[in-house]
Symmetry: C3
Subunit: 152 residues, 3 copies
């Protein structure tokens, strides 16, 4: 019995630091990996350029290596990830490629793609897809990602 | 004494799984209830239809029974919950009713209602109201809801 | 040994309320300090007035003294914090001053300022600046702030 209690006591002492950590989310360690999900449902070259600039600025301020970024495009935002758009817009294409090379994930919404009859081969190669763009944004928030809704 | 310690030990063992769960929000259990608050302050039938489509897609992807959804309308978004709008827009009306039947809460902002001289009886019956739409969105986030700002 | 176990048992009982609190974020204590970050990237007097009204309504609903608010302006939103804008728009100026007196922090994005050739002296005196507006919104969310994206 005493041995059992000793074991329990040790388990408790070992377990205590964890809840204490969750109780103070205000002080993240210096080396904490930032996680951010951008929701892009805006339309047009200028707005997409603004969204990409925001992603770049976040990398500069928070660190490329310490910041995990996923850009989820749905609705009109999927236009940003069309191969056709990159063909017509060399600057956007270069931005997407640079950010992708830096580890940014670009994901297009399959619900939008079905509705707009967009095939996977219509997207830029660097893009992945997700079943539901909005649901992906929700799942990422549940995983502790900060949320940024792109657009004015 | 031993009985007391035994009781404490049991209480501790029972209590431990809870903090362990909060310490690892990155791995939600398969049966986790998702919670989402949508903020709708956009205007017009097309945008409201888009917002309702997003809610439906979230239910499909995350599960109707496992996802708690509240749609908070304020500013121009309150127009979506006017009885007049449902009378004029049968498709929106049907969407609201279907989602409401599935447990989605629709709440109109009383601050907007006062400003726009909208009475409770001017709203569709399925709608509830909240003192302040933006504050409701904040409170829901504090309760662990993921946040989705509707609109482009 | 028994004394040690007694001490551990007491420590455990004392420690338990904390994890229990984190496990039930749905019931914040009445005196809880709310924290909210508003992201303002919208353009124009009417939209800025709407954003300021939202901030005021949050103060009314959640309490001026119990709610910490930071308004981060970037992109077109920085226009709201220009001294020139306050000179031209007495109502906005009064709103900014009242909210600032109540402790609301207004922060303009230095990335936007560089791009638009806006100097610190071009901003209203009550405004502070941050290296990157979007990154500030992310950092605040990491510190437990609820997020509100202003605009329709």
């Amino acid at each position: 019995m005493k041995t059992l209690l000793k074991t329990i006591a040790l388990a408790v002492l070992t377990a205590l630091p964890l809840p204490a950590m969750t109780a103070e989310p205000e002080k993240p360690a210096a080396d904490k990996t930032h996680k951010v999900v951008f929701e892009v449902s805006i339309d047009g070259a200028e707005k997409w350029a603004g969204a990409m600039r925001n992603v770049e600025n976040v990398q500069k301020a928070l660190g490329v290596k310490t910041t995990k970024i996923e850009v989820v495009a749905h609705g009109k935002g999927v236009g940003m990830l069309l191969a056709k758009t990159s063909t017509e817009n060399a600057e956007l294409k270069a931005n997407l490629q640079k950010l992708h090379a830096d580890g940014v994930v670009f994901a297009a919404c399959e619900n939008t793609m079905k509705r707009e009859k967009i095939d996977k081969k219509d997207l830029v190669e660097l893009s992945t897809t997700v079943d539901s763009g909005v649901s992906e944004v929700i799942r990422k928030q549940e995983e502790g990602y900060a949320y940024i809704k792109s657009g004015g």
